[in-house]
C-alpha cells in the first residue's frame, strides 16, 4: 500500500511539475485567466446587478445556477447523514437518567408512553455526566444572541462587504451548535426540534430554486432575476440585486439548518438524546 502510494504520488507530482513549466507567472495581470472572462464581471457587475461586491454578484447571479446546486449539495449531505445515522424508533434508548439537584443522587427511569416526571429539583442528565460549568453556560448564553445578530448582518450585508448566505448561515448554525456544546443536545433541540431544521433545510433551498422557477413562470429564463422587476415594481437591475438578497437568505436558512442537522446526527449517532 505504502509503495503504491509513493508511486502514485510521484507520477501525479511529475505530471503537475511538468505542466508547471508553461504556467503564466503568478499574479500576472496579462495571463489569460485575467483577460478573457473576469474583466467583464469586474467592469459590468455593478451596472448590471448594482451589487458592489463582485464575488456576491458572480456567485448569486452570473453563476447563480452553480450556487443553487451548491446549496443542494449541502442539503443532500444533511439528508444523507440523517438517512445513514438516524436510529429507527424501535431501537432507541429506553432509559432516561435523572439527577436530584440537591442530593446529587441519580435515578434511572424506564421510558414509558406517558410523559416522564418533570420536577424542577430533578434534571435530566447524560449517561456520562459531568457537572456543567456555570461560567461556560452563562458566557455562551450571553454570546449566542450577538453571534446570531452578526450572522444576520453578514447575510444582509453580503452585497457590500465580504459575506453572504453561506458565511452567515454557517455562523448561525455555529451559534446553535455552541448552545448544544455548552449545555447539551437536548437543550439545543428544545430550542429547535429535529423536524423543524429537517424541514427548514429543504425550505431554504426551495426559496432559492423557487425564485428561479418564479422567473421561469414569469416567462423569463430560469434564475433570471430581472423577471422579479414585474413583482417588486423596480427596474430590472435593482430587481437583480433584490433577487440576490432573497436567494442569499434562502442559502443562509439552508446552511444553518443543515449544519445543526448534521451536527446533531453525528454527535449523537442519530439517537438525538445525548450529544457531545
Amino acid at each position: 500500500m505504502r509503495a503504491l502510494g509513493i508511486i502514485v504520488v510521484i507520477l501525479t507530482g511529475a505530471v503537475l511539475l511538468y505542466a508547471l513549466g508553461d504556467f503564466p507567472s503568478w499574479a500576472d495581470p496579462t495571463s489569460p485567466a485575467h483577460k478573457h472572462v473576469s474583466p467583464a464581471y469586474i467592469e459590468k457587475s455593478l451596472e448590471q446587478t448594482s451589487v458592489p461586491n463582485i464575488v456576491t454578484a458572480v456567485l448569486a447571479d452570473y453563476r447563480g445556477y452553480d450556487t443553487m446546486f451548491e446549496t443542494t449539495v449541502i442539503f443532500g449531505a444533511g439528508v444523507v447523514c440523517f438517512f445513514l445515522l438516524r436510529t429507527p424508533r424501535k431501537d432507541r434508548a429506553r432509559v432516561r437518567r435523572y439527577r436530584h439537584v440537591l442530593t446529587g443522587m441519580t435515578i434511572r427511569v424506564k421510558e414509558t408512553r406517558k410523559t416522564p416526571l418533570v420536577l424542577e429539583e430533578f434534571e435530566r442528565i447524560d449517561t456520562l455526566w459531568a457537572p456543567h460549568d456555570l461560567i461556560i453556560k452563562t458566557a455562551c448564553r450571553i454570546l449566542i444572541p450577538f453571534i446570531q445578530l452578526f450572522a444576520l448582518y453578514v447575510i444582509a450585508h453580503g452585497h457590500h462587504s465580504p459575506g453572504g448566505g453561506f458565511q452567515g448561515g454557517v455562523i448561525l448554525g455555529a451559534s446553535l451548535i455552541l448552545l448544544a456544546i455548552s449545555h447539551d443536545l437536548r437543550t439545543a433541540l428544545g430550542r429547535m426540534s429535529e423536524r423543524l431544521h429537517a424541514i427548514l433545510c429543504p425550505i431554504g433551498v426551495f426559496i432559492y430554486a423557487g425564485t428561479g422557477a418564479l422567473c421561469l413562470a414569469l416567462g423569463f429564463n430560469f434564475l433570471d432575476y430581472g423577471a422579479l422587476a414585474r413583482i417588486l415594481h423596480v427596474d430590472p437591475v435593482t430587481a437583480r440585486s433584490h433577487g440576490i438578497l432573497i436567494v442569499e437568505i434562502g442559502v443562509g436558512l439552508a446552511v444553518m439548518a443543515t449544519m445543526v442537522w448534521i451536527y446533531s446526527n453525528i454527535s449523537s449517532k442519530g439517537k438525538y438524546d445525548e450529544g457531545l
Binding site: 505530471v15 503537475l16 511538468y18 505542466a19 513549466g21 508553461d22 504556467f23 503564466p24 495571463s31 489569460p32 485567466a33 485575467h34 483577460k35 478573457h36 472572462v37 473576469s38 467583464a40 464581471y41 447571479d61 452570473y62 453563476r63 447563480g64 445556477y65 452553480d66 443553487m68 446546486f69 451548491e70 443542494t72 449539495v73 442539503f75 443532500g76 449531505a77 439528508v79 444523507v80 440523517f82 438517512f83 445513514l84 438516524r86 429507527p88 424508533r89 423536524r195 429537517a198 424541514i199 433545510c201 429543504p202 425550505i203 433551498v205 426551495f206 430554486a209 423557487g210 428561479g212 422557477a213 421561469l216 423569463f220 429564463n221 430560469f222 434564475l223 433570471d224 432575476y225 430581472g226
Partner: protein, 497 residues
C-alpha cells in the same frame, strides 16, 4: 413551453426532491407519487428534447439570461439528448419497479430515500445537459454524495464499501476539478464551447496536456475503468438491490458520457486523437479491462458481484470503442451507453425481484427459479442474451459496431477481447440459467415436477422488468434508425466515415 424543456428537466426533479423531503416529515405516503410524477415530467421533457434536437441542430439555454461564457449555459445536442432519455427513463422504470422493496427496507426513511433518489437523478440529468465544466463538477458531487448515502444503506459491508467509494470518488472529483483549473488558467474560460474555440491555439501547451490527462484520470476513477475499478464491485454488491439497479445502469454510463464530452467537445477531437498520443494505450487498457472483468466475473460466487465485474468489462467496451478513433468505434461506444444501461437495468431488476422473493442472491438461491418465478427469469434471460450479444437484442448491435470499429482500426486485440468476453458471458449467464433450470429432480421424469410452486414477484416489479426486456429487442430492431438520426450527427467528421 418547449424552449424551457432544458430548465424543466433539472428544476422539476430538484423542486420535487425538496418537496418530498418536506412531505416525508408530514405525510409519508405522498413521497412515492410525487417522485413518480416528477420523473414522468422529466422523461416527457427529455423525449421532447430529443425530438426537437433531431429537428434543429442543438439547443442552447442561458440560465439567468446571461450570455455564455459569462453565465452558465445548457448545451443540448444529440448525444446529451440520447443520454437524457436513457437516464430519465431508466430512473422512472426503476423507481416504479422497486417501490415494494423500498417500503420493506426503509419503512421510516422512505422520505429521505426518495429525496436522495430524485436528487441523484437530478444530478445525472444536470451533468448531461450542462455546458459548463465547473457546473459539471458541482453536479458530479451531487450524484456522488447521494450515491454514497444510498449505497451505504445496504447490508453487511455496505458502509465500508461506500466509504472506500467516498475516498476514490473524491480523488476522482478533485482530479477533475484540478484539470478544469488548469484549463481555466490557460484559457480563462469555463464554458465548454468557449474553451473548445480557444484551445486550437494552445495545442502545444503543456498545461492543456496536463489538464487533459488529469481530467481523464479523474473521470476514469469515477467510471471504474480497469486499474481504478477497485471501489465498484463492493459498492454495487452490498448496496440495496433497489439502489444497485439504479446506480449500476446509470453512474458509469453517465461518466462515460462525461469522458466523451471532454474528448469531443471540450478538448477537440483533433487534440484528443492526434495531439495526445494516448489512443493506443487507452485501447490496450480497455482490452485488459475487458479481459480482467470477464475473468473476475468468473470467480464471483453470487449474482450481484458477478454482474458488477461484467459492468467493469462493459466500461472497457465503451472506453475502448471511444478511443479507437474511428466512426464505427465511436458509434459503438455511444450506442452501447444506451444499450448497456438498458440491459444492466434489466438484469439488476431481475436480481432485485429474486432478492425480494428469496432474500438472497447467491447462486444456490436460484434453484428451480424457472418454475418459481418464470417471468422474472425470462427477463433475466433476455438481459443475459443481450449481454452475450445475441441478435436481435440490442447488445449484439453495439458489439457489432465496436468490433467492426476494431477491425477497421486494425486493433485485433480489442476485437479478440470483445469476442472473449462474449464467450465468457455465455458461460457466466448459462451457469446461472442452468441452476435455475435444473431443479433437484426425482428419478422419474413424470409429473413429479409440480413440487415447486410458482411464487412470482408482485406485478409492479414484474411489468417494468418485462417492459425493459421488450425494450432490449426494440432497441435492437431500431438500431439502424437510432444510429442514423441520433448518433451519426454526434460523431465528429474528424473521425472519418
Amino acid at each position: 413551453m418547449s424552449q424551457h424543456f432544458p430548465a424543466l428537466l433539472v428544476t422539476v426533479p430538484l423542486l420535487s426532491a425538496l418537496l418530498i423531503s418536506i412531505v416525508g416529515w408530514l405525510y409519508k405516503r405522498l413521497c412515492f407519487p410525487i417522485a413518480v410524477a416528477a420523473l414522468s415530467v422529466t422523461a416527457y421533457s427529455s423525449v421532447g428534447l430529443l425530438l426537437s434536437v433531431m429537428h434543429e441542430k442543438e439547443i442552447l439555454y442561458r440560465l439567468g439570461g446571461w450570455e455564455p461564457p459569462w453565465g452558465i449555459a445548457y448545451r443540448v445536442d444529440h448525444l446529451s439528448a440520447l443520454v437524457l432519455v436513457v437516464v430519465s427513463v431508466v430512473g422512472l422504470l426503476n423507481l416504479i419497479a422497486t417501490q415494494k422493496s423500498i417500503q420493506e427496507e426503509f419503512p421510516e426513511k422512505t422520505g429521505a430515500f426518495y429525496t436522495l433518489y430524485v436528487l441523484l437523478i437530478t444530478g445525472l440529468l444536470g451533468i448531461v445537459v450542462t455546458g459548463d465544466v465547473f457546473n459539471l463538477y458541482v453536479l458530479l458531487e451531487i450524484t456522488a454524495l447521494t450515491g454514497y448515502g444510498l449505497i451505504a444503506m445496504g447490508e453487511e459491508h455496505a458502509p465500508l464499501a461506500s466509504l472506500n467509494y467516498v475516498y476514490m470518488g473524491t480523488i476522482g472529483a478533485c482530479f477533475y476539478l484540478l484539470g478544469i483549473g488548469y484549463l481555466y488558467i490557460s484559457t480563462g474560460s469555463l464554458n465548454m464551447a468557449d474553451i473548445a474555440s480557444i484551445l486550437p491555439g494552445l495545442y502545444d501547451s503543456r498545461v492543456v496536456l496536463a489538464a487533459f490527462i488529469i481530467c481523464m484520470v479523474g473521470v476514469c476513477l469515477k467510471m471504474a475503468f480497469f486499474p481504478l475499478h477497485t471501489w465498484l464491485p463492493n459498492a454495487y454488491t452490498y448496496a440495496p438491490s433497489a439502489v444497485s439497479s439504479l446506480v449500476a445502469p446509470l453512474m458509469t454510463k453517465v461518466m462515460i458520457y462525461v469522458m466523451l464530452r471532454l474528448m469531443l467537445t471540450v478538448f477537440t477531437p483533433v487534440f484528443t486523437f492526434s495531439r495526445v498520443g494516448l489512443s493506443d494505450s487507452m485501447v490496450w487498457l480497455a482490452v485488459i479491462a475487458i479481459a480482467m472483468g470477464a475473468v473476475l466475473a468468473l470467480a464471483a460466487r453470487d449474482m450481484k458481484r458477478m454482474l458488477t465485474y461484467v459492468i467493469v468489462a462493459e466500461v472497457g467496451y465503451m472506453v475502448g470503442g471511444a478511443w479507437l478513433g474511428n466512426r464505427a468505434g465511436m458509434t459503438g461506444a455511444i450506442l452501447h451507453i444506451a444499450n448497456d444501461a438498458l440491459m444492466t437495468l434489466c438484469v439488476f431488476l431481475a436480481v432485485g425481484n429474486i432478492v425480494y422473493k428469496v432474500k438472497g442472491y447467491a447462486f444456490k438461491d436460484l434453484q428451480g427459479m424457472f418454475r418459481k418465478m418464470p417471468y422474472t427469469m425470462s427477463g433475466l434471460v433476455a438481459g443475459a442474451l443481450s449481454m452475450v450479444g445475441v441478435p436481435p437484442t440490442c447488445g449484439f448491435f453495439s458489439k457489432w459496431y465496436l468490433i467492426s470499429g476494431g477491425v477497421q482500426a486494425g486493433q485485433y486485440g480489442f476485437v479478440a477481447a470483445l469476442i472473449f468476453s462474449s464467450l465468457i458471458n455465455v458461460i457466466l449467464f448459462f451457469r446461472i440459467i442452468e441452476i435455475g433450470y435444473y431443479e433437484p429432480f426425482g428419478a422419474d421424469h413424470g409429473q413429479g415436477s409440480s413440487r415447486v410452486r410458482t411464487a412470482e414477484a408482485p406485478l409492479t416489479m414484474v411489468i417494468p422488468l418485462l417492459i425493459v426486456a421488450g425494450g432490449l429487442v426494440m432497441m435492437g430492431v431500431y438500431t439502424g434508425d437510432i444510429v442514423a438520426h441520433v448518433i451519426a450527427p454526434v460523431v465528429p467528421p474528424a473521425l472519418g466515415n
